[in-house]
């Protein structure tokens, strides 16, 4: 009961004190508000780009890399190419050593709308194997992916995004209907619910890391190859190609195919590693590789880390904004020190009348907490403005990821009150040390 009463008293004292020097109070609130808002705005962007796109199974999803080029084209860290040649990708597909797996390459076929008078549009997507969908838990609105049988028979089937379904079929269940891509008809087997993982972890070798718009079409890998749908992702070569065209690319040592495998136990991972090394040794014996196996098998978090998907501008911004917060903190310590010590006389009187040091701690920390709360409120407002205007500063694909949600609001408030209390510790300590006798005498 007494505690409650005292709490109310401290709030009252703090309020009076803050009102007595509005200039200093406003300065502190502004400093905290701006410092916190700058940090939280850049943090919201950093959080968005450094997140795990598939946290529930990212550590089970692996990207194999096979050195098809040899030591002459390795960079200083001995890293094999980040994508596979067609030959190696097909070998992994046919060996099928993972629980679920898919080779994939990026496509951007043109889609001819059914209605007359509409211009064809470019759509982006991937040619994948049917296991791609269950492996990555792709959500479906209607229908599903396709079967291994469809893969084997190069079936002309397609999985489309909800957005494309809206555009072409007005959002109706379009499973069974057909659409025309690159002049050929494809039957819709599934419509995805909104799915646009950021970063696009399943094909970092070939895609931009962050994409404002999700992919629209997925077709069977072997159908894409058979229909001659060119890859629209990156192609990296280390020697001139010998044959022309898409067939020439498939026969070349150029790397352009991404691969993902689901390995759900450490035993499965080490078996897969052995398999990769065995495969490379086999290629060495066959005379295709003239070097010892140099393979890599990284899980998604490791790949994201290695590829450095978080843009360095985002990191620098966060670093600088945190620096700004520290300056605001130091500033607040100084101002609070001035504010608290200005009331040395009042402190002396309270101490002389029997207030214990503890009471002074409580009183001044309450005051700091109130400044922090006010700074936090301003910080929330400014963070809102900041997150809404990140589009001015960061590229649209990244800015679109920054969101104002409850956890961000919570962190903003906790950070504001926390740093202000921290800033209040030293001034409170100094204020509580005021000698009552000396103060009373000098007044």
């Amino acid at each position: 009961m007494l505690g409650y009463y005292m709490l109310g008293y401290y709030i009252d004292l703090a309020w009076r004190s803050l009102r007595r020097s509005p200039g200093l109070t406003v300065l502190m609130v502004l400093a905290i508000g701006f410092g916190v808002a700058a940090s939280m705005t850049t943090y919201s962007v950093f959080r968005a780009v450094s997140g795990d796109p598939i946290p529930w199974k990212s550590s089970q999803l692996f990207v194999p890399q096979i050195d098809a080029w040899g030591p002459s084209s390795r960079d200083s860290n001995g890293e094999p190419p980040d994508a596979l040649t067609y030959t190696d990708a097909m070998a992994l597909v046919h060996a099928h050593r993972a629980k679920l797996q898919s080779a994939m390459y990026r496509i951007s076929p043109s889609l001819v709308p059914g209605q007359a008078g509409q211009h064809p549009i470019n759509v982006s997507g991937h040619a994948v194997y049917g296991e791609f969908f269950p492996m990555l838990d792709v959500p479906f609105l209607y229908g599903s992916g396709w079967s291994a049988d469809d893969d084997a028979h190069q079936a002309p089937v397609v999985v489309i995004s909800g957005e494309l379904n809206q555009k072409l079929f007005d959002g109706a269940n379009s499973v069974g209907r057909s659409l025309s891509m690159d002049g050929k008809d494809y039957r819709v087997v599934g419509v995805m619910d909104s799915w646009n993982p950021q970063p696009r972890f399943y094909d970092l070798a070939s895609s931009a890391n962050f994409n404002a718009i999700g992919e629209s079409v997925f077709i069977p890998f072997e159908r894409g190859i058979a229909a001659g749908i060119y890859n629209s992702g990156n192609t990296n070569c280390h020697e001139p190609r010998t044959g022309p065209g898409f067939i020439g690319l498939q026969q070349s040592s150029c790397v352009w195919i991404s691969y993902m495998a689901l390995l759900d136990s450490s035993a499965a991972v080490s078996q897969y590693r052995q398999y990769l090394d065995g495969y490379a040794r086999e290629q060495q014996r066959a005379g295709r590789f003239h070097w010892a196996p140099n393979n890599l098998l990284r899980d998604v978090p490791a790949v994201l880390d290695h590829q450095g998907v978080v843009p360095s501008d985002t990191r620098i911004s966060l670093l600088v904004a945190l620096g700004l917060l520290v300056v605001c903190l130091v500033n607040t310590v100084g101002l609070m020190l001035a504010k608290f010590l200005r009331r040395s006389g009042e402190i002396g009187v309270r101490r002389a009348l029997g207030a214990p040091r503890r009471a002074l701690y409580a009183q001044f920390l309450m005051e700091a907490g109130m400044i922090g709360a006010a700074g936090g409120a301003l910080g929330l407002l400014l963070t809102g403005v900041g997150v809404m205007s990140v589009g001015w500063v960061f590229r649209p694909e990244i800015a679109a990821l920054a969101r104002l949600d409850w956890s961000l609001l919570g962190i903003t408030m906790v950070l504001a009150v926390g740093v202000t209390l921290l800033a209040g510790v030293y001034p409170t300590f100094r204020a509580a040390r005021v000698q009552p006798a000396w103060q009373l005498k000098s007044n």
């Binding site: 200039g23 200093l24 300065l27 502004l30 400093a31 701006f34 410092g35 700058a38 850049t42 043109s110 001819v112 211009h119 064809p120 549009i121 470019n122 690159d182 002049g183 001659g228 060119y230 020697e239 001139p240 190609r241 022309p244 065209g245 898409f246 067939i247 020439g248 690319l249 843009p311 360095s312 501008d313 990191r315 620098i316 911004s317 600088v320 904004a321 620096g323 700004l324 520290v326 300056v327 605001c328 130091v330 500033n331 310590v333 100084g334 101002l335 020190l337 001035a338 504010k339 010590l341 200005r342 001015w392 500063v393 960061f394 590229r395 030293y426 100094r430 000098s442 007044n443």
Partner: protein
């Protein structure tokens, strides 16, 4: 004025002095590096592309029902489709010239290879980026020929998308010519591309042409461009279009319509903006740099504002605390200007101390950015400018409370607070 009484007085306010000094030090460290980042980005954005950017735009398009390149006779069809497009564009009243091209400076879509002076040397002499186009490419981009000759119609080879044959002649930039042949006699000399033994003759040198790539790696060969007299004929084609002076908007509207009229079964890279002005390409290429410069600018303004406010606040407190002493000094003969000077000198000392620490912190922060983010070394000029800025900021911020201090009347000395 003697400094020692000021120093003695400061010793009685250690905490406040340390806090202001620390704040100035941190502000200096961050502001120097932030302004350096801004300067670096602006410098990057000001690099010339070497082309005449005004009135230039690009169309990136693909045909939907293009014949498969691997089929017999498809090459002629693809070539004819492209010629039809070029003819339609060249007829437009607002269009000055048109050339098929594979890229543009700042487009960030590049084909890079090594160039050698001797086909057998193991290491390439330089890395280069290619621009492929016909004899209209030089005038359309607005490139200035310094030596030799431009491509003639007879030089142009017609090749499929994945055709790997090389042309017998090329045009290079002056930067590359000087690198390969420092005596300035590149025209007529022979080079080798992509590790093949086929000799290729340099027939012309253009003044300047930036490569299409804009990342850190392509920056190491930013002006090593090579023009190949090849007209690529595949299922897609890019057209560089120069509008007549001042007719850019009209030409940008007319061009896609004309292409649709030739053949409606085509797609543009972006349906909303089938014609991309070079200004838009430039803005897109540098949007991260503009954003970073804005962010760093905002941070600097907030920092300087907060630090100035801190100085005003703490100095005001000191002035209030020392009313009595100020009164005594005034009573024993100090003029108003002496009191003003006192606080100004005091601030100069604190800010100077902060600036010394800040200089060290600024260099440390720069070192961290170099190590972690591959940034460049900050020139010392930024540091001196930063030091001058925080000292001036301190003086400006201290002026208001210092003036108030100088207004304290001598009579205060006689009151017991």
């Amino acid at each position: 004025m003697s400094i020692s009484p000021i120093l003695r007085a400061l010793r009685r306010h250690k905490a406040g002095v340390v806090l202001i000094g620390l704040q100035i030090a941190l502000t200096l460290a961050i502001v120097c590096n932030a302004v350096f980042i801004i300067g670096e980005r602006i410098e990057r954005m000001n690099r010339p592309t070497g082309i005449v950017e005004r009135d230039l735009f690009l169309i990136q398009q693909a045909w939907v029902n293009a014949p498969n390149e691997e089929l017999e006779g498809s090459a002629q069809k693809l070539g004819a489709m492209q010629q039809e497009d070029l003819a339609a564009l060249r007829q437009l009243p607002d269009v000055e010239s048109v050339a098929p091209t594979t890229s543009m400076p700042l487009l960030d879509s590049s084909w890079n290879e090594g160039i050698r002076l001797d086909p057998d040397q193991p290491q390439q002499t330089a890395r280069v980026s290619f621009y492929l186009g016909d004899e209209q490419l030089l005038p359309t981009l607005g490139l200035r020929l310094l030596a030799g000759r431009a491509f003639s119609h007879a030089d142009i080879l017609h090749q499929g998308l994945r055709d790997i044959r090389q042309p017998p002649v090329v045009i290079v930039t002056k930067a590359l010519a000087d690198l390969l042949f420092p005596h300035g006699d590149a025209v007529g000399k022979v080079v080798y591309l992509a590790g093949t033994p086929k000799p290729i003759t340099i027939i012309g040198v253009v003044e300047q042409l930036q490569v299409p790539g804009i990342n850190r790696w392509t920056e190491t060969f930013a002006y090593n461009s090579v023009l190949l007299p090849i007209q690529r004929e595949g299922f897609f084609a890019f057209y560089a279009v120069r509008a007549k002076p001042g007719r850019l908007q009209a030409a940008m509207r007319a061009a896609p319509a004309a292409l649709y009229q030739v053949n409606p079964l085509r797609v543009f890279a972006d349906i909303r903006t089938p014609s991309q002005s070079f200004a838009a390409i430039r803005a897109r290429a540098y949007r991260d740099d503009i954003g970073m410069a804005i962010l760093m600018g905002v941070v600097c303004v907030i920092l300087l504002g907060v630090t100035a406010a801190g100085i005003v606040g703490l100095t005001s407190f000191w002035v209030g605390q020392r009313q009595h002493q100020i009164g005594i000094r005034r009573a024993v003969g100090a003029r108003r200007v002496d009191i003003l000077r006192y606080f100004q000198t005091e601030n100069l000392l604190i800010a100077g101390g902060g600036a010394i620490v800040g200089t060290v912190l600024a260099l440390a922060l720069n070192l961290l950015l170099i190590q972690r983010f591959e940034m460049a070394r900050m020139p010392m000029s930024y540091l001196w400018l930063g030091v001058a800025a925080v000292l001036l900021l301190g003086q400006a911020a201290v002026f208001v409370p210092a003036r108030r201090a100088s207004m304290v009347p001598p009579i205060v000395a006689t009151r017991s607070v």
